[in-house]
Symmetry: C3
Subunit: 204 residues, 3 copies
């Protein structure tokens, strides 16, 4: 139940981020819908394709389609009010990437992949919907450009799960703890402007 609520909140946050990017590009209604969809389900789709988990997840469950559709309708109507929700949306997104990371890790384990590959899958699930969104909107993906760490928190959180599993605790505790690691790291990153080390001589 809690799990499902988080999942839906994450989907809502991702879909809204899609709507915002698409509307900034002034796409039409169909374009906005597709971008919202892709943002919300693109990462999971890519993950499912990589491990051969087909038909891909969202096609077998009406929840996502319905959630995204309703979100898009509301987001378009209340687009001017969305700025007042910035904090909530940020929070949903943060919770969303925490959960999505671990969903991906779990799918990797089910496919009997090595831990590092599971972490990759988790990060892909959480972050690559946004990457496809940006590709479709003709932008270099935002998570590839310097700002506070985002994908890195998913990598660290996913890795923390395998660390926690070394201890004699229940699997589900380690699972939740890893989600909390992603969320905490992301909150800390934004609060203290934590960035990846600069690899260039001078800032562009």
């Amino acid at each position: 139940m809690l799990y499902q609520t988080i999942d839906i909140l994450g989907t809502v946050a991702f879909a809204i981020s899609g709507v915002l990017v698409a509307m900034e590009k002034r796409l039409d209604l169909f374009g906005v819908l597709i971008i919202a969809f892709v943002t919300a389900i693109g990462g999971g789709t890519l993950r499912d394709l990589m491990i051969g988990n087909t038909p891909v997840g969202w096609m077998q469950d009406l929840t996502y389609v319905t959630t995204i559709f309703i979100t898009v309708v509301f987001a378009i109507i209340f687009v001017n009010k969305l700025k007042y929700l910035r904090k909530s949306l940020f929070l949903f997104d943060t919770i969303g990437i925490g959960l999505y990371t671990m969903v991906g890790v779990e799918k990797g384990l089910e496919a009997q992949l090595l831990p590092i590959m599971c972490v990759f899958l988790g990060t892909m699930t959480a972050c690559f919907g946004g990457v496809i969104r940006d590709m479709l909107c003709n932008e270099i993906p935002i998570i590839f450009r310097r700002k506070e760490i985002y994908a890195t928190t998913c990598i660290l959180g996913g890795a923390s799960y395998f660390l926690f599993m070394q201890f004699p605790i229940k699997d589900s505790y380690a699972y939740v703890a890893a989600i909390l690691v992603v969320i905490s790291l992301r909150l800390i990153a934004v609060k203290f402007d934590v960035r990846l080390p600069n690899i260039y001589k001078k800032e562009a």
Copy 2:
């Protein structure tokens, strides 16, 4: 026989649209070939990947590769004459999206997906070759930007099939009727400049 003819005409229309976009970008011969290919078989490929129908369809049937190759050769040679064929090409394309939509819907049914997912698959089959074409050519996909409805006709046509199936008619009749719905809606849309509702305050 009719089915195959339509299929080939659709492939020809899609391939030519790929050649035109690629040549506008002044790609080299290889680039033009790949873009033509992707435009013609990209939607079906994405569909097949999503439902796990691999190796993807066009790899198991020489018809598509041959058709596309011959089309590209002729299209490059007669590129300056193509403008006289605008009407035929529009017609081929329209018939093509009608057919491709229903091919996708059928594959969805075979994969035992829900009707709405089948409609998604159909629309993907018909429209996403063009989306990948535009991504490769570094453009925001044309079907995401305001003009007469295109993908929407596929959605409505695909949905109409499930409506027709409520009546006591043969499956193949409903299939053909749905194709005709897509084609008719598209013709009407272009003739009367039917667009999706504008979601922005002012037109950009």
Copy 3:
């Protein structure tokens, strides 16, 4: 052993080309890593997806991930020295596309595809990592734009394998011969500036 060495050298060359393109776009560390990855394993991933070979190859073998990671670290540190390695990198890349082409052809044969489809798969394996790299970096793929032939050498080399197989020679000889064809053609192409025929009236 030789096979593996070539494979690793190819991966290194591809990863470095990814680092260079990504750093030109001034992506952050995460972006550079992902682009390097995608350049090195994107072609093989696409190939595996197309034929339903999942989980995709690189997820089942730590070699690639490790190689790419180490390559990226060194490439970033020594980025200013990389220009002195231009010749070696070109050579690695050339050997890499030769090998990757034949790996793809072989996977196609395993999937019982027609020869022409195997050649497609080989070319995809060798060239489409770079295509995805360029898409992510918001550029029209470089192999679609006029310069000395690149993908074409993979197509010809892949096709030569099926020619060689007509003769009463060992399979592994034909395999190696085809790799050498790709490499030779590419070397010749660069030395003598061999390009595809121009399909435009005037050079842009």
